[in-house]
């Protein structure tokens, strides 16, 4: 597809697949999978440097270079708005003022569901501080709207719990969110395999962000390639407009002109 860019905060991207860098065997596998995915926006986490441990080891950003990729630092592991804001400030410093961030404020370790009130609080603070916020949230249409109104540049409802691979659990809610949205809606979390990604795109999502579905596949690099195709196929199917569902058959070959009775 030509001329169908994903536009986030005024920047155009040709890939609608956003990928994480967690859970890979090593940095080489990370690099290969991300290359195969065709993703241009790549998420990273911000953590303490390991004091005195393997100081010679390459840094993730030496492999996934900010010159080649749009780095999207996340606030994974944050359970309060303050921690999320601190993490974003450190990320902005780390990336020389780059201010696109993925906000997630978690509420519970077992489900990794977002704490939506803390998410709203953090989103407001970050937007005021000039950050361009892509926000992970639940699949609640009202909340998605509130986050958009606060000035988030993209709203990213979960399809299922993070890392669960359960697929699009509530396509109706995703549709409701899409109906009212004025900013890009991306499914973030829950995708398990290529068809899940296609379903998200067929619903009309602007993109999909995933990590575990690729990293935890038996062959991550091959799954990354599958996801790239699934996202493209789903997008094209969405733009093409699917046929209506019908209860009864409708012959594909004409009835007229048959030479038998």
């Amino acid at each position: 597809m030509q001329n169908d860019p994903l536009v986030i905060a005024g920047v155009e991207y040709s890939s609608r697949l956003l990928v994480g860098t967690g859970k890979y065997k090593d940095l080489e596998e990370t690099r290969e999978a991300i290359e195969a995915s065709g993703a241009e926006i790549v998420t990273v986490a911000i953590r303490r440097t390991n004091i005195g441990q393997n100081p010679g080891e390459p840094n993730l950003l030496e492999v996934i270079s900010p010159e080649k990729y749009t780095i999207l630092p996340n606030t994974a592991g944050c359970y309060t708005a303050d921690d999320a804001v601190r993490t974003c400030c450190l990320a902005r410093e780390l990336l020389d003022g780059h201010d696109l961030v993925k906000l997630e404020v978690l509420g519970d370790e077992k489900t990794l569901y977002p704490d939506v009130t803390a998410t709203l609080e953090a989103a407001e603070l970050l937007v005021k501080d000039g950050f361009k916020v892509m926000v992970y949230t639940s699949d609640d249409p009202i909340l998605a709207k509130r986050l958009e109104e606060l000035g988030c540049v993209a709203v990213m409802p979960l399809a299922a719990p993070i890392g669960s691979g359960l697929g699009i659990c509530n396509p109706y809610n995703i549709r409701l969110i899409l109906e009212n949205a004025k900013v890009p809606i991306l499914v973030d979390a829950g995708v398990g395999t290529a068809s899940d990604a296609s379903i998200a795109m067929e619903l009309g999502c602007e993109g999909v962000l995933m990590n575990t579905a690729i990293a935890a596949a038996q062959k991550p690099v091959l799954m990354a390639s599958a996801m790239k195709k699934a996202i493209e196929a789903g997008r094209e199917a969405y733009l093409a407009g699917r046929m209506p569902r019908k209860l009864y058959a409708s012959a594909s070959s004409p009835i007229d002109g048959t030479f038998f009775k």
Binding site: T43, V44, R47, T49, I51, L90, A215
Partner: protein
């Protein structure tokens, strides 16, 4: 004097700077960001000296989703 680096107490000489700390951590010239007492420590301030009891965080990007 004692400073706290990434949650661990550390004995360092007086007039110790962020530049010296990064060198001693093997992180000189590496892409990291620093926080001093919960405020961002911009790179331009790395030559400034720490004070006793300062709490410093040194972070980097790692794999995550």
């Amino acid at each position: 004097m004692e400073i706290i680096v990434n949650g661990e107490a550390r004995q360092v000489p007086d007039e110790y700077t962020a530049e010296q700390l990064l060198e001693s951590l093997g992180l000189g010239g590496r892409r990291v960001a620093m926080e001093l007492n919960q405020e961002i420590l911009p790179r331009s301030n790395y030559p400034r000296c720490f004070s006793p009891g300062d709490r410093i965080e040194v972070v980097q990007a790692i794999g995550g989703g």
